[in-house]
C-alpha cells in the first residue's frame, strides 16, 4: 500500500472550552473514496478546514499531499479541490465567467482555459446553462458548478463538504455517480462529509464515523458492522407456511450450533442471529426436517444500523447542534 495522501495526526481544535475536533488520527490512501459520516456539529467541517489551512488546529498536524496544511497551505490548495457546504458564486457573473475566474486563479494557461472550462462544464452537465448568471441557478446546479470549479484545477484530491445537502433524490444519485466515476477514471482521492448515511453508503470505499469531535470507527461497511455488532452481524429470517409451534422441538437442536447465537420465533417466522452466514445450511436443515420454506431473507447490518447504534450510545450526551460556531 502506498503512503497515505491525507495524514491527520492528533488533530485537535478547541473553541473556547469546547473541543470541536478531539485528537483525530486518520489516514486516507490515494484513489479511495472516504466518507466522513457524522451528525450535525460533529466537527466534520472544522476537520476539513484544518486540512486546507483555512483554520489553524489547536494541536496536531494535518499533512495533505505531503505538505503541512497549516504552515504551507499553498501547495496543498494547488492539489486539493474543495467544495464548501454552501458554495457561493459571484451572482453578477455567468457560470462560465465564475469558472474561468477560478481557472485563472489556479494559473491555468489562458490558451487552454476556454477548452478546459467547456470540458469541465460538459462533465458536470451544465453546458446548456453556461451563459446564465449564477443568481438564477438552482441549488443542484450550483452544486454541480461547484464540482466543475473543483475539477478545473485538475486536483489530486477532492474534498466535498456536505455535497448532497439540499439536492433532490435524483440529483443526489447523479451527483454521487459522477463523483464515483470521476474518482475511478482519474484516480482521484475523494473525501466527502455527510450526515446522510445512504449517500455515503452508495459511493464510499471506506467510512469514518465521527461524533462529538472523535472518530469512533473507520473501515469499510462490513468491517464496521463486524466491529460494532461483533458476533451478531448476520441475521437470517425464514418464513414457513404454517405457524411454528411454541415451544419448537427443533429449537434446542439449532441452539447447539456454534454459529447460532439467538433464535426468535414469531408466528410463522424464524429469525436466526449469528456471527457467520449460515442461510444455506439452515434452509437445507429445515427442508430435510420436512418444513416448507416459503421465503428466506438475509439481513446484514447496513450503515443505517451502524449509524443508529453509534448515536444511541451518544444520545445521552448533549450534542451541541450544528454550526454553533459559524
Amino acid at each position: 500500500m502506498k503512503d497515505p495522501i491525507i495524514q491527520l495526526k492528533g488533530l485537535t481544535k478547541q473553541y473556547g472550552g469546547v473541543k470541536a475536533v478531539d485528537g483525530l488520527n486518520l489516514n486516507i490512501n490515494k484513489g479511495e473514496i472516504f466518507g466522513l459520516l457524522g451528525p450535525n456539529g460533529a466537527g466534520k467541517t472544522t476537520t476539513i478546514l484544518m486540512m486546507l489551512g483555512l483554520t489553524d488546529p489547536t494541536s496536531g498536524t494535518a499533512f495533505v499531499c505531503g505538505h503541512n496544511a497549516t504552515s504551507n497551505p499553498i501547495p496543498v490548495k494547488k492539489k486539493v479541490g474543495y467544495m464548501p457546504d454552501s458554495v457561493g458564486f459571484y451572482d453578477h457573473m455567468t457560470a462560465l465567467e465564475n469558472l474561468v475566474y477560478i481557472g485563472r486563479l489556479n494559473s491555468v494557461p489562458e490558451k487552454e482555459l476556454k477548452k478546459r472550462s467547456t470540458e469541465v462544464l460538459e462533465i458536470v452537465g451544465l453546458s446548456a446553462d453556461q451563459h446564465k448568471k449564477t443568481s438564477a441557478f438552482s441549488r443542484g446546479m450550483k452544486q454541480r458548478l461547484g464540482l466543475a470549479d473543483v475539477l478545473i484545477k485538475n486536483p489530486e484530491v477532492i474534498i466535498l463538504d456536505e455535497p448532497t445537502l439540499g439536492i433532490d433524490p435524483t440529483g443526489v444519485r447523479d451527483f454521487l455517480a459522477l463523483i464515483k466515476q470521476l474518482s475511478r477514471q482519474h484516480g482521484l482521492t475523494v473525501l466527502l462529509s455527510s450526515h446522510h448515511l445512504h449517500h455515503v453508503q452508495q459511493v464510499c470505499d471506506r467510512v469514518g464515523i465521527f461524533v462529538n469531535g472523535r472518530l469512533l470507527a473507520q473501515g469499510d461497511i462490513s468491517a464496521l458492522s463486524a466491529q460494532l455488532f461483533g458476533t451478531n452481524s448476520h441475521i437470517t429470517s425464514i418464513k414457513l407456511p404454517q405457524l411454528v409451534p411454541q415451544p419448537w422441538p427443533l429449537e434446542s437442536e439449532l441452539q447447539a450450533w456454534e454459529t447460532v447465537n439467538k433464535i426468535t420465533i414469531s408466528e410463522n417466522e424464524l429469525e436466526f442471529t449469528g456471527s457467520r452466514d449460515i442461510t444455506a445450511k439452515l434452509v437445507r436443515f429445515l427442508v430435510e426436517k420436512g418444513y416448507d420454506v416459503i421465503s428466506v431473507n438475509q439481513k446484514y447490518y447496513g450503515l443505517d444500523d451502524i449509524y443508529q447504534k453509534y448515536f444511541e450510545s451518544n444520545s445521552t450526551k448533549d450534542i451541541s447542534y450544528e454550526k454553533s460556531i459559524s
Binding site: 478546514l49 483555512l54 483554520t55 489553524d56 457561493g88 451572482d91 485563472r104 486563479l105 461547484g146 459559524s326
Partner: protein, 322 residues
C-alpha cells in the same frame, strides 16, 4: 494591460476582476456622478469668478490661473478641494465597506480561499483595485480641468502649477486610501456589511463634525483665562489645539491641499510678528510648499498603512467558514 500578458498571476487576475466589478457596479456609477457633478458645479462657480480673482493684484497667487480655477469661489458653494475633504471619505468607505464580509456572506470567500492564493493577496487586490479606479477618476478630472482651462482662457500653464495640481491629486488619493483601508478593516471586523458601513460613516462624521467640538470642550476645561497668559503660553496652547486637531485625517488633508493649492500659504500654525517681519507676501516655490505639508502627507500615509496592517493582522489567521 495586465490581462493580456502571458501570465498575470493570481494577484493580477484578482485585481482585474475587482476593477471590472467596481466599474460595472451601480454604486460606483452613483459615486462618479456625485463627484463629477460637484466638480462641474465648482468649476462653473470658479470660472464665473476667475476674472476678478486673477485681477486681484493684492493676492500674491493671482497669476496662478489653474490653481485659481480649483480654489476660487464666490462663497455660494465651497471650492472643489473642500468638497473633496468630505466626499473623498465617502468614496473610500463605499468602495471598501463590504470588501470581505460580502464575500463571506455569499459563500465566495471560502471558495476563493481554497484556491492557491495568498490571503493577503485578496486584501491587497481589493485595496489596489479601488485605488486604481479612484486615482484614474481624479487624474481624469484634473486633466479635464487643465484642458478645459486651456481652451477657455488660452493661458499658458506654469510647470509649478502642474506639479501642484498633481500633488493635490496624489494627496487626495492618499486620503481616499486611508478611508478605504479603514473600511476594508471594518469589513473584516464586522460580519454584516451594513454594520461596517455604519461604523465607517460614524467615524467619518465624528472626525468631520464632532472632533473639533470635542477638542475645544476638552481644552477649554483646563485652559486658564487667556488674559492672564503670556504671549508664549497662548501660542503653546494654540499649538496644542492645532496638534490635537491634526489627529483627524480630514484636518491633515485640508492642511495639505490648502498649502499646495495656495502657494502663498507659508505656515499652518500661528506665526509671530517677528517671523512675519520682513516677509514679502509672495508665493512659495513648489518645493517649499511640499516641505510644509510633508508631515501631513506622511501622517495620512501612516494612518492608511496602519489601518491596512490591522486589516492584514485580523484576516491572516482567521477561520474561513462559509
Amino acid at each position: 494591460m495586465k490581462s493580456q500578458s502571458p501570465d498575470p498571476g493570481p494577484f493580477g487576475v484578482m485585481v482585474h476582476k475587482e476593477i471590472a466589478d467596481h466599474i460595472r457596479s451601480w454604486r460606483f456609477a452613483i459615486l462618479i456622478a456625485l463627484i463629477v457633478l460637484t466638480f462641474i458645479a465648482a468649476m462653473y462657480v470658479s470660472l464665473s469668478n476667475i476674472k476678478s480673482a486673477i485681477g486681484n493684484t493684492k493676492d500674491p497667487d493671482h497669476l496662478f490661473l489653474y490653481l485659481k480655477l480649483l480654489t476660487t469661489t464666490d462663497n455660494s458653494i465651497p471650492p472643489f478641494h473642500v468638497f473633496l475633504s468630505f466626499l473623498a471619505p465617502l468614496l473610500g468607505i463605499s468602495l471598501g465597506f463590504d470588501a470581505v464580509n460580502s464575500e463571506q456572506n455569499s459563500g465566495t470567500l471560502s471558495r476563493l480561499m481554497a484556491q492557491p492564493i495568498y490571503r493577503d493577496n485578496l486584501l491587497l487586490a481589493k485595496f489596489v483595485s479601488a485605488l486604481v479606479i479612484v486615482s484614474g477618476l481624479f487624474f481624469a478630472l484634473a486633466l479635464l480641468m487643465i484642458g478645459g482651462g486651456l481652451i477657455l482662457t488660452g493661458v499658458r500653464m506654469e510647470p509649478q502649477e502642474l506639479l501642484r495640481i498633481l500633488g493635490f491629486i496624489v494627496i487626495t488619493v492618499t486620503y481616499v486610501a486611508f478611508w478605504l483601508s479603514l473600511s476594508i478593516m471594518l469589513s473584516i471586523l464586522f460580519k454584516q456589511a451594513a454594520t461596517s458601513a455604519l461604523t465607517a460613516i460614524g467615524i467619518w462624521l465624528f472626525f468631520t463634525i464632532f472632533y473639533q467640538i470635542v477638542i475645544n470642550l476638552i481644552v477649554k476645561s483646563f485652559l486658564p483665562d487667556p488674559a492672564y497668559l503670556t504671549q508664549a503660553e497662548i501660542i503653546s496652547y494654540n499649538d496644542l489645539i492645532l496638534n490635537l486637531q491634526r489627529i483627524a485625517p480630514n484636518q491633515l488633508y485640508s492642511d495639505a491641499v490648502t498649502t499646495l493649492l495656495m502657494p502663498s500659504v507659508r505656515s499652518l500654525g500661528p506665526v509671530t510678528m517677528e517671523q512675519m517681519a520682513g516677509a514679502i507676501p509672495a508665493p512659495l516655490p513648489f518645493k517649499e510648499s511640499i516641505m510644509i505639508v510633508w508631515p501631513q502627507v506622511s501622517g495620512l500615509l501612516a494612518s492608511a498603512i496602519g489601518c491596512f496592517a490591522l486589516a492584514y493582522y485580523l484576516f491572516m489567521r482567521r477561520e474561513i467558514r462559509s
